[in-house]
Structures are given as C-alpha cells and as structure tokens.
C-alpha cells in the first residue's frame, strides 16, 4: 500500500470510542470521523457567531458551504473537485448481535407553532400532511466500541473529540453515549490505507473512482450517490462514488 508525505505533525492514527450500549444510525455505515470533527468545529463557530450577534445560516441552507479546516490530511488521489479528508467511517467492534430496531415517536408541538408562525390554519392535522405524527424505526447497532482510522494530527483530533459525549442519531434520548475516546498514533499503517480502509481491509469511506483504482478494496458497498466531505448532506457534496462496506452485509 502506498504511503505519501504528510505534514510533520500528521500521521496515521486509530481512533476508538468506547460506547455505553451502541450507536443509532440511518445509513448502513457508522458516522465518518471527518464528519464528527467538522460538526464540532461548526458548533463552536456557530456559538461564536451567535454570541457576536451575527445571524447564523445553517450549512445545508448555504449555496456553497465552506470547507472547514480540520486537523486531517487531504487525499492526494482525486482531482480538486472531488477531494476528501483521509478519514474513514466508523466500524463497530465487539458487536452484540444484529441491528436492533428501536422506535421513536413525534408529533408537532401546537404551542410551538403558535410561537413561530404569524398565522395558523384552523387545524394542523396530526394524521396527514407534512405535520403528521410519526412513529419511526430507529436502527441501532449494539456494540462496545467503534473504530476509525485517519491521517492527521492526533493531538488536535483528541482536543476536538474531548468535547463530544454522544454520536449518531437520537443522542438526546441516550443513544450513542460515548464513555471514552482513545486516539493512538500508528505510523505502521500506510497513510492511504489509514485514510480509506477499515482494519479488516474493507472500504471504510465513500471514495471517487481514482481512489478505488489504487486501493482495489475487495469489499465495498457498490456504486451509488453519497456525500464526499462535510457537510455530507449538502447537495454540492453529493457525487457518484464507491460506497463503504455495508454493515448489514457482514
């Protein structure tokens, strides 16, 4: 596997989160490390802007969201348009059985609507339309730890992760509780491998064709549309990519 030069402070590392009971997620792969770091940087920037009295626009609502500066190396393989951070999505370890289906419910808060809307219709139906009540499945991977691999500055990554106590969906309901983080530099892992592949050799993140041409990962999630770098869900970040290995297929 190819190794390439990175900045002095940067190198291959393994990040591990010890979880209370598992992680809830919608996609068939766990959250990406660069996504988690970007959300932390974004949250800090947002609170600073609001504290300074500036109006804050969500990243998803911006035409061209900025690429936040993360303590990670960039992949040198794709062209400038399809660059991505060298960091994988999470891989659950010590898995206790198959995916569990929890349920969450939600209904529109009429009092809240009265506060935020100048004018309301006579009735806001909870049975139909966009404000209908929901009873939704929540897919939870029961596991003790999640592992990521990345190329970057371990000290800076550790500093950012220290403030995160839950990951994944429905964090406020107790899902994805993180008990501890461990960040270990591991110069023995070739940088390209650390930035793209899970420890078992399967593809660990969505990648454009030039990456897969070099990596030739045997286990992938096939081709499909996916986000390439944070903010992952923004339209400008969606590309036709090779998807990471699917959790449910293992």
């Amino acid at each position: 596997m190819t190794t390439f030069a990175v900045e002095d402070a940067m190198g291959s590392m393994v990040v591990r989160a010890e979880l209370a009971s598992g992680i809830a997620q919608a996609a068939p792969w766990a959250p990406a490390l660069d996504g988690i770091l970007a959300s932390q940087v974004w949250a800090r920037r947002k609170s600073e802007e609001i504290a300074a009295g500036n109006y804050h626009v969500r990243a998803l609502d911006r035409e061209n969201p900025v690429d936040l500066d993360l303590p990670l190396a960039r992949c040198p393989l794709p062209g400038s348009d399809q660059w991505h951070w060298l960091a994988t999505c999470g891989m659950p370890e010590q898995v206790a059985g198959t995916t569990r289906v929890h349920t969450w419910t939600g209904r529109v808060d009429a009092r809240d609507l009265e506060q935020v809307a100048a004018r309301l219709p006579a009735t806001v139906s909870a049975r139909q339309g966009r404000y209908r009540a929901r009873r939704m499945p929540l897919l939870v991977a029961p596991c003790r730890t999640i592992v990521w691999r990345a190329v970057g500055d371990p000290a800076a990554v550790e500093k950012l992760l220290a403030g995160i106590d839950a990951i994944g969906k429905k964090r406020s309901s107790g899902e994805g509780r993180v008990l501890s983080w461990s960040i270990l530099a591991d110069p023995g892992i070739p940088t390209l491998e650390a930035g793209h592949l899970h420890p078992d050799g399967s593809l660990g993140r969505p990648v454009p064709a030039p990456c897969q041409d070099v990596l030739a990962a045997a286990v992938t999630g096939g081709w499909g549309t996916a986000g390439l770098r944070p903010p992952y869900m923004h339209r400008s970040r969606q590309h036709h990519l090779v998807l990471p290995a699917l959790l449910d297929a293992s």
Binding site: A27, G221, G222, T225, M233, D248
Partner: protein, 279 residues
Amino acid sequence: MRTGLNLEELRAIRGKQHLGVKPLLARIEHHLQTQEGYVAFSGGKDSLVVLDLARQVDPAVPVVFFDSGLEYPQTYTYLEQLTDRWRLNLDVIPAQPSLLEILVAGGRWDHHQNAGSTLRRGASLHETLISRPAAIAHQRYGPGELWGVRSAESTGRRIAYAHVLADAGCGCATACETRQERREHHGGRIARADGTVAFGPIWDWPTPHVWEYIAARPLPVNPAYAVLRAIGAPPAALRVSHLLDGHGIEHGRAVWLRRGWPGLFDELATLLPRLREFA
C-alpha cells in the same frame, strides 16, 4: 451443516394447509370467463400469490405491470426473470408522467419550492399511477381485474371489502346461509361504477398465510424482500411497491430505503430534499 429451525421449511409445512384452493380457483375461472381482464402484478408477495392462482386456471392470462418509474431496482430484474421462467403474457404500462416527475414537480418534498403545483396541473398520484394505466389495461383486456389487495393491509381496504360484501346480492343456486358461505362465495369482488370489476382472491388472507402459501408452492419472491429482511425490517415493513409516495412515510418507509439502498436514497434526496427528514 444446518443447525436450528429452518423457518422457511416451517412455513412450507404450515402452508400445505392453504394449498386446497379449488373453490378459489373456481371463482377465478368464473371471473375470467365472465369479465375477462388481467392480473395486476406489482412484484410484491400478494400479487405473486394471485398470479400463481390465476395461472393455475389460465397459464396465458394477461399480466399487467403498472410501472410507476420509481420501483425497487430488484423489481425490474425480478420481473424479467419471472417472465422468462413462467413465460408470462406480460404487458408493462408506464405511468405518464412518472411518479418521480410528479413528486419533484409537486414541490412538497422541497421547502424551497411552492407546494401544490401538482394539483394545479391536475396530475394527481392516484390518477397517474392507478386510474389511467388501469383504464388502458381494461381497454386492452376487458373489464375484469385480478389483484392482490388484502383487507389486512389497511383500515381503508378492510372497510371497502366489508362494504361490498354487505351489499353483495346472493345469486347462488343454494342461497348462502352462513357468514362464512357469504365470504367464500361473494367476498373480495368490487364492481365499480365504470363497469370494471376487481376481484381479490386473497382478500381475507392474513399476512402469515400469504408467506406460508409462497413457501409451500414454493414461489420465487422479489429479491427486494431479502434486502429488507437483511437490514432488520420487521414483518409490517416487508412491503414492496413504489420506492416512495405519501403512504407510510411517517412509519419509517424512508428509513428502510436509506438503509437498504443508500446510494439510491441519496440520489433521490438531491431531488426531494425533505426525504432526509423522514430517515
């Protein structure tokens, strides 16, 4: 080496009790003789059972697939394979415009578009996906229709079947005396105002009964079911129809789509951004 209980084997054994369907076949035969028509096949488990029953009566019965343009990828390959294997007399009638075009134009899936333009243009989902293609199929094959609609699927369907059964007159040589006789002889038949007649042979089958019949025959099912099972979808979520429409979205339909078909989901979400709110 196989270990433990094989559920498919268990279903097949239990399903053998449902294979005695002679009275049902007689009703299908009568329906096809009097109304002609076609089998409406969606690629799902219910219409598969109906198709199998209809083929026992008439192997060359016309089979119509209403293509919404937004079906599971597996459905199209399954349809091709089933057509080859069973030598189906298949007719595919595409929706015009497609379901995706209607959803995008409607604006309801994007906060930044005005909702309601679909209704102003007069393209309702029901008309585009059901009424118009069905009218074409009736024109080609006659007023009859065999479908897999079951009363256990929703309250609306249960009420519809209950109403038509209550209103059904008994023209049997020996008048039906018990409720069970009325259900067996007259249940599942819906005569519409436009002269078309739909008959759901399995209208009163519960869901496990359908899977047991499939296992007992055994019938090849749409591979989309295997994907849904692999990602942990519970029995109530094992439904194969359009990838997306307004139904069941509040019960997690998009969650299963996101998990089982992640690339497809993200592609749809670029056109229908609010889809992410439901996953």
